[in-house]
């Protein structure tokens, strides 16, 4: 009782005394006085006694508090026997795993602070039993660990105070001991609460949590886990177990190199552990849980004020999902394990808890609704045009094989599986559009597409597979209309195929399968098990169209209008109210003449093809136009047109490519390092007055000899600037090779590294990014291969890009791109709007191959591999769902991080294996090339790392994508400045090209300046040149 209450009683007594005197009842007064005196004396005695009890309790608690860390500290210091075996209590499986089962996931349960040994409270036992029933057989549920002891030892055995804990446990289980029993029973809770304090402590925590991690590690190993197997682990912690799980998880991750998720059920978590290291934390709490609510108050690291704490950073990066259980308390009958208490929907608390947790563990729980776009994206707008959607092109339409070629042997549409399908499918669905002759019957079928099981492919998949949980930035960015992989949000273990298939809101990623495609067929196919499946070992190539032809545009045939039908149903729901569908969509029909391989002229079959009007961008300009396209000089050498037939059998042109750009027929040849460098530096990016033109220049880095340069300079007329030079039929019928100086340097099958840089859109309809005087541009690597194109029967460059591309409003998905998709696509490609410079580099030591142990070893392949890792990471933002352009992370920085990683791998291979070097040098030619390679890599390293050492994240290959530039502003700027050459696309491109030139490489510069029809409202802007 408080002093104030006592005073109130005294006052009341005095008042009664005075009143009694007044009314003169003396005997009564005496009686009352006696009663008051006795009461006050009793109260005082009780008060003193209570105070003493409280004091004793506090002192005991403090004493216990001082002793409680000793077990962990003694464990660390090795005070116990050296042969102490923490693995002697490895826990048990809640349900045995059937034989020959591939375990999909390991789940470890850590109980709350009531735990004294491996047997839990009855309600917990029921919960675990129900959970095990709800989970499939291939999820192992481990129970019985004792996280409140560093030695994983029950309290009730082999301890000084075992007798006390046994008693306490008895009273806790039976509740038969009245108040005494309750007090004894609660001692376990107090002891374990102190242990939670140790685990949460900044000083003891790292020691204690390593011990917990050790017991989890031992348990997993005991139950068949092995380091590096990559099987996901989930630690499920209830109440204090949530804290123990959060503390141990980073260490378990370090020890096992496994993806780890945490499920905290009513967890009381301090927030000072590195939650950024784990895949995700699901924090499940009832609204009436008063214990969990203490966490955000008593733990400073969870205060919003400390925004740089692990907890708050993890929260901002979307690593924590908060899931409400509704009107559920913390424990006992009203807690999440309550088997009697019911929710408004009739389910018991226990049923709900089991459903939520089993859903999370199986990856089928839609726990958090994703943010919806409030601003329409370009992608949303473009989807309104039917021709931009795959269903516009029926699969049963065929083309004349004499006029058109399939773009690739294997081509199709990726379809994301449902969460229920994905664990059995282990890949994505593939709607087959093209298949090689022997598999023609698969066209139109939807079959599984999976990663190949070979070790190298699986290593790649493992490196790039991650859970996706949108960060706050990703959700904000999505609301602003940027296309993020919304359908993958809260998916566990998203692999690069899934991230490609699920990158946009709709299943409209069209890809070609290149390189290795293994067709698997099952003999006993059932309805739900397709008979065929494909396996690949490389990222599919994003393309546009199904077929391509080579034509010259003769004239406009007519203007066609058609109503845009059902355009809105496919876009996402929130944006439909904002978007207004254009009532009419127009198409221009052109009469075209096909190229005749026999005559080498455009006097083949004529037909009408459709160029649908592309949708206007939000910036007011059209992504491409067909205005006067038939009058353009480039029309004389023809266009490759890519597309497919619509339902009416009309060939619809989805992408174009000027033939002249890809032919091995340069406008100009420059020989000599200095002259080549001068051209690259001073002339390559000239854009003034060049709109609508292309330029194809070959640079030879070999030393100049005699007056050769004079002969070759302008040897081939510029067919864009000047009135177009039309090749005579006689000239064209001859083989290209004797005509072209290129034939000395470029042959069929040769590969080249591509440095791609694009500039900006200026003019009246200037894009927002080009409103300042500085335009950074965009950078990407790619690979060009000299192929013989069958329609023209001539050599041409086939260019593919590895686009490390941030999430954007256009719906461009980071990945491998065919030129016709990234550049040539009439709706989302940049050919019509941006100036582009592709530098193709051929240097045998880099783009060719060494013979190592009888196998081909190509540095270019190493680079492509690293780029494919980077683009797969980009698509999911290292699990955060988004990537953003900033000084530390952008297309240029991260493409060059891949280059850095590739060079590092080559260097490691060389340093770690002396025989490797011998193999590289085993013949004189190879030895020379090896020398060249060493010089080149050193030169590039010095240029990329002007301050001597690489950025820490490059060195350690950290997963640091998806952090918005704002979050790490100063660090980002500092990192950006330290690696400034790779911050600026044009500077990076030129710096790297120069390194190759210095080693005598042959380069080919392909420049385009807003090609296609004429749009008078735009002008090309070159990326700003920064000093040197």
């Amino acid at each position: 009782m408080s002093n104030r209450k006592i005073s109130r009683w005294i006052g009341l007594g005095l008042f009664t005394l005075v009143l009694s005197l007044v009314i003169g009842f003396s005997t009564v007064i005496q009686g009352v006085l006696l009663a008051i005196t006795l009461t006050l004396a009793g109260l005082a005695a009780t008060w003193n006694f209570s105070l003493q009890i409280i004091s004793i309790l506090i002192i005991t608690l403090m004493f216990a508090g001082l002793l409680i860390p000793l077990e962990a500290l003694g464990w660390w210091a090795g005070w116990y026997d050296d042969d102490l075996d923490t693995a002697s209590y490895p826990g048990t499986l809640e349900e045995p795993i059937p034989e020959n089962t591939d375990i999909r996931k390991y789940v470890i349960y850590l109980d709350g602070i009531c735990q004294s040994h491996s047997q839990y409270l009855p309600e917990v036992e029921i919960f675990l039993n129900e959970l095990a029933i709800a989970l499939p057989d291939d999820i192992a549920l481990i129970r019985g660990l004792m996280p409140y002891s560093v030695l994983n030892k029950p309290l009730t055995e082999d301890r000084w105070l075992s007798f006390l804990w046994r008693k306490a446990d008895h009273y806790q289980m039976t509740a038969s001991g009245g108040i005494f029993g309750l007090l004894i029973g609660v001692t376990i809770n107090i002891r374990n609460t102190l242990i939670v304090g140790v685990a949460a402590d900044q000083r003891y925590g790292p020691i204690y949590n390593q011990a917990t991690a050790q017991m989890i590690y031992d348990s997993l190993i005991h139950h068949g886990y092995w380091r590096g197997c990559g099987i996901p682990i989930t630690i499920l912690g209830y109440s204090g177990g949530g804290q123990m799980a959060a503390g141990a998880a980073p260490y378990v991750k370090r020890a096992l190199a496994a993806p780890i998720e945490l499920v905290s059920l009513a967890g009381v978590i301090s927030g000072n552990h590195n939650l950024l290291a784990v895949e995700h934390l699901y924090h499940i709490v009832g609204d009436n849980d008063l214990v969990e609510k203490q966490g955000p108050v008593i733990f400073p690291r969870r205060w919003q004020l400390l925004f740089l704490s692990y907890w708050n950073r993890a929260k901002a990066r979307g690593k924590i999902s908060f899931i409400s259980l509704g009107p559920v308390g913390h424990n006992a009958a009203n807690g999440p394990y309550g088997a009697e208490a019911r929710l408004p929907d009739g389910r018991t608390h226990l049923q709900q808890t089991v459903e939520v947790i089993s859903g999370i563990l199986q990856g089928t729980s839609a726990v958090v609704s994703a943010a919806r776009a409030t601003t329409p994206s370009h992608y949303d707008l473009y989807q309104q045009a039917a021709f931009n959607r795959p269903e516009f092109y029926p699969l049963d339409q065929t083309v004349d094989p004499g006029l058109y070629q399939a773009i690739a042997p294997w081509l199709g549409r990726l379809i994301l599986p449902t969460p229920q399908e994905r664990y059995t499918l282990r890949g994505v669905w593939f709607e087959v559009h093209h298949a090689p002759t022997e598999y023609q019957h698969l066209i139109g079928k939807v079959i599984p597409l999976c990663w190949s099981s070979d070790a190298a492919t699986q290593r790649f998949v493992k490196t790039t597979t991650k859970a996706v949980h949108f960060s706050q930035e990703a959700e904000d960015s999505q609301r602003q209309g940027v296309i993020h992989p919304d359908r993958l949000n809260h998916w566990q273990q998203v692999d690069p195929l899934e991230s490609l298939a699920g990158a946009r809101p709709n299943d409209d990623v069209i890809v070609a399968l290149t390189d290795f495609v293994e067709v698997q067929s099952a003999d006993n196919s059932q309805e739900d098990h397709p008979a065929y499946g494909l396996r690949i070992n490389r990222e599919p190539l994003q393309i546009t169209g199904r077929y391509y032809g080579l034509v010259k545009i003769l004239q406009v045939a007519e203007l066609q209008s058609q109503t845009a039908v059902e355009t809105l149903t496919i876009t996402n729901a929130a944006s439909t109210s904002i978007l207004a569908a254009p009532a009419i969509q127009t198409s221009r029909l052109f009469r075209v003449a096909h190229y005749d391989r026999a005559t080498h002229q455009f006097n083949g079959a004529e037909e009408i093809v459709s160029f649908p009007q592309v949708v206007l961008s939000k910036y007011g300009s059209y992504p491409s136009t067909t205005r006067d396209i038939e009058k353009m000089p480039l029309n004389e050498t023809g266009w490759y047109i890519y597309g497919a037939k619509d339902a009416n059998g009309m060939f619809v042109v989805q992408a174009i490519a000027p033939r002249a750009l890809f032919r091995l027929l340069p406008d100009k040849v420059i020989i000599g390092k200095q002259k080549s460098w001068r051209y690259l530096k001073k002339q390559a990016w000239q854009v003034k007055g060049k709109k609508g033109q292309i330029k194809s220049v070959m640079l030879v880095g070999a030393e100049e000899t005699g007056n050769r340069e004079q002969e070759t300079e302008d040897a081939i007329p510029d067919h864009t600037l000047k009135p177009v030079r039309v090749a005579s039929p006689q000239e064209l019928t001859r083989s290209l090779e004797p005509l072209s100086p290129a034939s000395q340097f470029w042959n069929e099958g040769d590969r080249a590294l591509v440095l791609h840089v694009y500039g900006g859109i200026g003019g009246k309809k200037r894009e927002p990014a080009a409103r300042t005087p500085i335009f950074f541009g965009h950078f990407a690597y790619g690979v060009a291969t000299v192929i013989r194109e069958p329609l023209a029967d001539e050599l041409k460059f086939d260019i593919q890009y590895h686009q490390v591309y941030s999430h954007n409003i256009d719906g461009i998905v980071a990945g491998r791109f065919a030129w016709n998709r990234f550049m040539g696509d009439r709706q989302i490609g940049w050919l019509g709007t941006r100036p582009v410079c592709d530098v193709l580099i051929k240097l045998e030591s880099f783009t060719g191959a060494f013979d190592v142990y009888g196998k081909k070893y190509s540095v270019l392949n190493v680079l492509l591999y690293e780029l494919e890792v980077m683009i797969a990471r980009y698509r999911i933002g290292d699990g955060t769902g988004g990537t953003y352009v900033g000084p530390a992370h952008n297309c240029c920085q991260d493409s060059n991080q891949a280059l850095y990683a590739a060079l590092k791998r080559v260097r490691n291979a060389i340093q770690s294996d002396p025989k490797f070097v011998e193999e590289l040098q085993d013949d004189p030619g190879e030895a020379e090339r090896f020398e060249q390679l060493i010089k080149l890599t050193e030169g590039i390293r010095q240029k990329l790392l002007p301050f001597g050492s690489a950025r820490a994240d490059w060195q350690n290959n950290q997963s640091s994508l998806g952090i918005s530039p704002e979050e790490d502003f100063f660090q980002g700027v500092s990192v950006g400045l330290r690696s400034w050459r790779t911050l600026l696309p044009r500077v990076a491109s030129e710096a790297i090209a120069k390194q190759f030139l210095d080693q005598g490489a042959t380069l080919w510069v392909l420049r385009t300046n807003q090609i296609g029809g004429n749009d008078p409202d735009i002008e090309p802007i070159a990326p700003t040149q920064f000093g040197w």
């Binding site: 508090g65 001082l66 210091a77």
Partner: protein, 207 residues
């Protein structure tokens, strides 16, 4: 005046306690007792450093005792530097012994340092105790040397600065001797730097 009167009086920041202990004949002994007790308490609180360094049990106890004694020597250095500051900047003529007793008694709140070892509450307790001790220092120096509050404050700050300077210059050999004693008693070269301790823990138990 007995030991506990001084402890309680100093902890409750009573200026009279300081005046009386300075005048008391047993003041020096009482002050030493306060210092040793506070030193021992703090040594226990810092015991985690010994654990991290994997010091064996018997050596652990010895290390605590040595730490208490070294605490007294550390105090002497601090008192010396404060005395220098008082002489140079404030022109105080108070005898050294008077200052020593005052400063030693102002360590009384540190007797609670043991509670720094409490899980989770330890860190805020250590902050509170540091502030409390500094207040005791201000009260003591004001009561016995007649400095005003601001003078006392600057005396504390400058005294600390001079101590740091001494530790890094002429005091280095002495510090090295202290370190050698600590290491010899502990049986291992003790790592005390916070970053290095974190590194040891991060490396894991078996490393």
């Amino acid at each position: 005046m007995n030991f506990w009167d001084v402890e309680v009086g100093a902890i409750s920041l009573n200026p009279e306690t300081y005046r009386r202990v300075v005048e008391s004949s047993s003041g020096g002994l009482i002050a030493l007792g306060v210092l040793l007790l506070s030193g021992f308490s703090e040594a226990i609180a810092q015991g985690i450093v010994l654990f991290v360094n994997r010091v064996k049990p018997l050596r652990f106890v010895l290390s605590l005792a040595i730490a208490s004694i070294l605490f007294v020597f550390g105090f002497l250095f601090w008192a010396g530097s404060t005395w220098m500051v008082l002489k140079i900047f404030f022109g105080t003529r108070a005898p050294l012994i008077q200052l020593l007793i005052t400063l030693a008694v102002s360590f009384a709140p540190k007797v609670f340092s043991i509670f720094i070892a409490l899980p989770y509450l330890g860190v805020p307790i250590s902050i509170i105790l540091s502030i409390w001790s500094f207040l005791a220092f201000l009260v003591g120096i004001r009561a016995t040397l007649g400095l005003d509050l601001w003078q006392g404050f600057w005396c504390g700050v400058l005294g600390w600065a001079v101590l740091q300077l001494l530790q890094r210059t002429v005091g280095r050999p002495v510090a090295n001797i202290g370190k050698w004693i600590r290491n010899s008693v502990a049986g291992v070269p003790l790592v005390t730097d916070l970053k290095d301790l974190e590194r040891i823990i991060a490396q894991g138990r078996r490393s």
